[in-house]
Amino acid sequence: MTRELMGGLLAILLGGGYFAMALQIRASALADTVGPAGLPKVLALLMIFLGLVLSAQALLSGRRKSRPAAEPASAADADADADPGDEIQGGLAGLARAGGLLAIGIGYLLIVRTVGYVPAIAALIVAATLYGGAALSWRVFAIGIAGAVLYYTLFVLMLGIPLPAGHLISLF
């Protein structure tokens, strides 16, 4: 499946889901002629239409590409949708790497209320640095702790923003 086709199908799915939710919007006694669900329904239909157009474009261009390819496809042709200008590299492995960074972010969300801002942000810096390819050494941990203290100083002490103190602190 090409990326264009994937984009088209996602748009159709998004439009369909959004339309289904728009149908559930309750009509109000104060409603005007359009109503609260009016624009959402129009947007959903437009999204589905554009998704169909994008999918059709992808299928047509795929057929056009496959026509002259009567000769056997070489390994280099395997990924017909590959684009040398792609920012996202490494195929599925690249996606997994991005997912790993996202998981570090989610991990921070899960622990910050419990352990508090300084340990959580230090852990985030250390984890993201190691995940980014830095060698495991005491320096990474030292920089993580220094970064956490720096951000604590900036946000809490200088800007007066209350960042989570954490539940663990109440145990001491």
């Binding site: 996602l10 109000s28 409603a31 359009v34």
Partner: protein, 494 residues
């Protein structure tokens, strides 16, 4: 006069200097665009008073445009897209041992560009906004549609994808309270969504988080800057020679800044080409021509001010960076558009004053920031990205002390990542998000006035004119796409 008073009575001067310094650092980091640099600052602006907040953001835009030229000249890697044209002659000058002079020309031309752009901003914004003062609900609706159409057609790439992006932005804007009845839509029973999704969260997610996710897929190809170059300003004779190229940069930057969707990158390349065409030293271009640096650097710095004109006059941001600046206005409850010159004139005048300070301060801060920039560019990407990630988490949490906001930002980052993978542009989404309320509320208000009769959009002359222009933009873009498709088919058949 009012600008000067605001500058003295608020921390505006300090904010302008901090903004420029931050912008230079962000611009100097390859991969960190001016819009990301500004988006990272957004959370900090919540605690500031409006004028200082906007000066901080706008000044960082000014600084980022110069910052982008530092790695362009020293390591042949533009820090920002707009600095790509500077690579051509900037790096050549560096190879000839004139890196200091190349950086000096870039900085000096940037100051000229920023000041000229500011002049245009002051002269053009208010008269243009007066046109919009006679707008009624149908005209505002049509203006929103025109803004979206222009951005969709000028985003580059597939028109269908840009339209999908714009509609997606409008969809996100419908989350929260309905603007007419006050009922809830798409809130999933969550109190956090009752007030809608704040554009600032989506912008930080789309611009900054998606960039970190994309960089996670790439290998660290950091090139070390070995240069110890000191900035050297051009002498009188060279300054006179640079003047025509800078004037070209000013004119091109003004035109491209006002045109939504064009931006600093297009301006830089057009200015470079025009400077080459009109130069007496054409043969030097590409071999280390000082004019080859002056023209694009003047143009992209001019754009940093003139891109604000459509934002202030009509409430329509024409680029990613001005969309982030709009986020700054929204944070402080300031509605941009024609009424801003009546309701928040002090903020606008303060912004002018702050931009003036930023433009001048750029000269000194540019010299001072040289060493920190080189130090930062040389840091391993893993450390830099980890600190940016932590900054996003700390900054976004500080807005409402809400972990829900952080999950929204992460979600927007994932959406941005896939949009980049599918080559769907961000700007129409951001514009759809910020214009969604304007479009829907004025559409429905107009229909309430007309008793449900849609012909109101055609009988209101301003609305009709704007809708015709919007239709022309879409039709023109469709026609161009069809012609290109036919041409490529003909080429394939031959």
């Amino acid at each position: 006069m009012q600008s000067a008073e605001i500058l003295v009575t608020t921390p505006a001067i300090l904010m302008a200097c901090i903004g420029v310094a931050w912008g230079i650092l962000g611009g100097a980091l390859p991969g960190i665009s001016p819009s990301i640099t500004m988006a990272l600052l957004l959370p900090f602006t919540y605690t500031l008073e409006p004028t200082s907040a906007l000066i901080l953001l706008a000044s960082s835009y000014v600084g980022a445009e110069y910052g982008g030229s530092i790695p362009a000249i020293l390591i042949r890697t533009p820090g920002t897209n707009a600095a790509a044209a500077t690579v051509i002659d900037g790096y050549e000058m560096n190879r000839q041992g004139k890196a200091g002079l190349a950086l000096g020309i870039s900085l000096y031309s940037g100051v000229i560009g920023s000041l000229f752009g500011l002049l245009m901003l002051v002269v053009l914004s208010e008269p243009l906004s007066r046109v919009a003062l006679s707008f009624r609900p149908p005209s505002y609706f049509a203006l929103g549609i025109l803004g979206l159409s222009v951005i969709v057609t000028l985003s580059g790439g597939s028109l269908v994808k840009a339209m999908i992006a714009g509609i997606f932005g409008l969809m996100v804007a419908t989350v929260g309270t309905d603007p007419v009845t006050g009922g809830n839509r798409f809130t999933f029973g969550t109190a956090d969504l009752l007030g809608g999704i704040e554009p600032v969260l989506i912008m930080v997610g789309l611009f900054a988080v998606s960039e970190l996710l994309v960089q996670a897929t790439q290998k660290d190809t950091t090139i070390r800057v070995e240069s110890t170059a000191r900035i050297e300003f051009p002498g009188w004779k060279l300054a006179r020679r640079l003047l025509p190229a800078q004037m070209i940069g000013n004119v091109v930057g003004t035109f491209e800044g006002v045109m939504p969707g064009a931006g600093g990158t297009v301006a830089s390349f057009i200015a470079y080409n025009e400077a080459k065409r009109w130069s007496r030293h054409k043969d030097e271009f590409g071999k280390g021509s000082p004019e080859g640096i002056a023209a694009p650097e003047t143009a992209n710095n001019t754009v940093s001010a003139t891109a604000i004109i459509p934002l202030l006059a009509f409430g329509i941001p024409g680029s990613n960076s001005t969309a982030v600046l709009l986020g700054g206005f929204l944070i402080h409850g300031i509605t941009v558009g024609p009424m801003i010159f009546v309701k928040s004139a002090d903020v606008v005048h303060g912004l002018y004053g702050g931009l003036f300070v930023a433009s001048i301060a750029q000269l000194i801060i540019g010299i001072m920031m040289m060493a920190p920039c080189i130090w930062l560019v040389n840091r391993p990407r893993a450390y830099l990205n980890a600190f940016i990630f932590a900054l996003i988490f700390s900054g976004v949490f500080s807005i409402h002390q809400s972990l829900f906001d952080l999950s929204l930002v992460l979600g927007a980052g994932v959406v941005g990542f896939f949009m980049r993978m599918l080559k769907i542009p961000f700007l129409p989404t951001v514009l759809g998000l910020v214009l969604g309320y304007l479009v829907e509320s004025n559409y429905r208000r107009a229909l309430v006035i007309s008793g449900g009769d849609h012909s109101i959009f055609l009988t209101d002359p301003i609305s009709l004119g704007l809708l015709v222009v919007a239709a022309l933009f879409i039709a023109g873009s469709l026609g161009r796409t069809l012609l290109e498709t036919m041409k490529s088919r003909r080429t394939a058949l031959n």
